[in-house]
Subunit: 261 residues, 4 copies
């Protein structure tokens, strides 16, 4: 078993901001890759916004089991057609891990169907992520909570659909709380949102944060074949029904006709 | 209390097809209005695809408590900007009842974030909708199941997010099943999908079907003020935090700056 | 419409502890009653642990629409047979609002099927309850958060089934968080757990806390008839099936026989 | 990795009924064992009602990763103390697969907190289980539906808590439907209810049924260490809080005191 993991990164802050460049000399995607170092079941690569097709060709997505997504300043530059590709692959069974400011990314908003809004503050305050189920696969090996010395604050209301599991809840020094580790299922795909990771702090060098990401990658992996027909609406004719039927009453559609969309 | 109810209808089949015109001489929207006849807490109107702005101006949506949606052949003609209006109003607290082929309507797919696909067959077969919680507000006054003599079949897999409540499940004569009455919460808005209502049959003259729709309208009604800021991401500065803070560590954002989207 | 509301209270602390007696001279149930003062749709009474049958006769429960529950030191004294009565009524459609230390009450643990454990501390610290959906019926009329100057801390993990809605999340001064306002549906009954209300503090004199309780009582009210058969397992004989059948294959049960339980 | 799987079986029908004895000469547990034949990651054993302590000693449960449960005529003979052991182990992380008439078993009702009632008929009719998410781990390798020639009917309303996932829905020849494959999470434990398996039919010789059971065993397996403290309510003193506190306001509890239960 190999979990083909693709880290998608906007990769703009590192180019435009000395602070971020110094925190992440190999890029935030470079730091995220270290989550998987020494764990041979992962095959890890990255894709960047400025790559052709944002590094997300049809072929590459077809070979991706779990996609990570970090974006912030350039959500609007991500092309809608490529967003639809990503979304289709999630429905087909690709796992998706959305990180921090990715709450406002196009793929996440598209899959949630809600604003995904929140309140925020950049003050370098303490964040403490409490785990509601310490034996969940995503929480393996972690203590009762993860404490991060400096983080950006995200506060409720976080306008998401009620999660399948509210696995982590954050406490912030300034007085707010946030549902910071949440799972959903959409089609055959599993989705995990994980809050930490502001670009101005060294969060992705924190081994516990990386462990959550590695655990979540395993959790999101679906070994089944891609459900490529997930968005189709097949007609099952009357004589091919599990219980074959005679047609009764009037009809609008002719035999073999496709449904309206 | 008045529940301002707006029935949105595509209203094309009645114009193009004699059968549908004869079944629904006042339009399907005319038949749906009868769900509310004699119930004074409802103020009911309709809006049609071919009305200016599809009958869904900002002003009118702002005065709508619960919106019904029936569409089929012309989903693609509904303008995206108007879909966004509808979706925003659901997030703000407007109830939404999506009927039958509306599973593929733009507002429903937008709010679900999934394909909303299914299998189907037009053979006039029996549908029997079983109720999983007979004391749910949407099921008030109904027997253990609703039986409809002739309906179009919709079969699983219905690719929706796991509902908040799977309230009704349909049995079809040809051997399929379908989750035919499902609820979700999105932002402050409550959503109900209700399966029956193929245009080739007199389903919306069935008093039990109309009772479900009337019950669901009451259920979906949110008496609170509109949550107009639901999609905003306000900054809470360090000195206005519930526990006022000094800024620690580095920063990317200047005071008063808006977040990236 | 009248919502027949019954406040169940252990009522031991007020008798045994001068502090609690001075905070709640009319008992905690007396303070809770004030949540409904001036709201004529409620008919409110109380029942106490030391009443005959804990004040929860079959007849009285049958006339109760919404039950509140506060207990702490004497959970073990509540008779199991009466717990079953309460639980049956919830399944039938009675609303249940469980307050604070009621997380360890027999009815709540019985309905959740989980330990309902948590961590705790009595240090008079600040609690701030953030609301995730400010237009939810239970949150009507409230600001973005409720702040309570002195409260007992309850911390995660709170071992409950994933709620239908995680409506409130608490921040505590000492660094913990807690899912402090949660909803569930069990049978026809709606359940709300609301965290605040330690007996050593004047929490139930806080008008915002009382407003949540009043709102929740309206939310939990089910106007439908009691689903008295909710726990029965009726046999539907082959010749009374919706689609009448001939019996095929072998059988173990004779006609008209009851199922095993 | 070895998944230590324990098949708990009532094992009464085979002794008292010639039909069942002939269908299951090695017992139903013997047939269920074949689900795992040739799959080396499973270590499978069985435990029977009439074994000492029902075969469920503390030691044995501690070494069980996933427990299957089939019971019918003798639910009432299962000792409450042993039910509590099973439930505690589920909370700690042991997977539980409840089969068919186990819907009325003590462990399942205890974990659900609802009646778990349904309607039923023994007429040897066709059951067809439709799968809502064909790429779910429990559905791996299966077609769109499983068809069983002769089965007992179970019909809605099935009074369970809303599942985490409604993975399978059954169609019955006589006209009923049933949510026949449902998942829940309770504490650290995953639970799957799977409907088929009436003792009068050879259902557990059906390779697709066995595949669901094998898949579900993998799905329910939690590799993490047992969460043995899941039901404890630890005190975190003020000076050991994540943010150490001075005590403010009055107190009822002395330092180091245990909470009430």
């Amino acid at each position: 078993m190999t979990i083909r993991t693709l880290i998608w990164h906007e990769h703009r802050h590192e180019k435009n901001n000395k602070l971020v460049a110094s925190l992440y000399p190999e890029g935030m995607h470079g730091a995220l890759k270290k989550a998987y170092a020494g764990h041979s079941e992962f095959a890890v690569d990255h894709a960047l916004l400025d790559d052709p097709e944002h590094g997300l060709t049809v072929e590459r997505l077809a070979k991706t089991d779990v996609l990570l997504w970090w974006g912030h300043t350039a959500h609007g530059e991500v092309k809608d057609a490529i967003v639809e590709r990503v979304v289709q692959r999630v429905w087909e069974g690709m796992g998706l891990i959305v990180l921090h400011s990715g709450h406002f990314s196009k793929p996440f908003k598209r899959l949630m169907g809600t604003p995904c809004s929140l309140s925020w503050r950049e003050a370098g305050e303490v964040e403490r992520l409490w785990i509601t189920n310490r034996n969940h696969p995503i929480a393996q090996g972690l203590p009762a909570y993860i404490e991060i010395e400096h983080e950006e604050m995200y506060g409720e209301p976080f306008t998401i659909p009620e999660p399948m599991e509210t696995l982590m809840v954050s406490w912030f020094e300034g007085g707010e709380v946030f549902r910071s580790g949440c799972t959903w299922q959409r089609g055959a795909g599993k989705i995990f949102y994980f809050r930490p990771g502001h670009e101005a702090y060294p969060t992705y060098h924190n081994s516990q944060v990386l462990q959550v990401i590695r655990n979540a990658t395993r959790w999101a992996y679906n070994p089944g074949p891609a459900w490529t027909a997930v968005a189709e609406a097949p007609n099952t004719p009357h004589d091919k029904a599990p219980v074959p039927l005679e047609i009764k009453g009037p009809r609008l559609h002719a035999d073999g006709e496709e449904g309206y969309r």
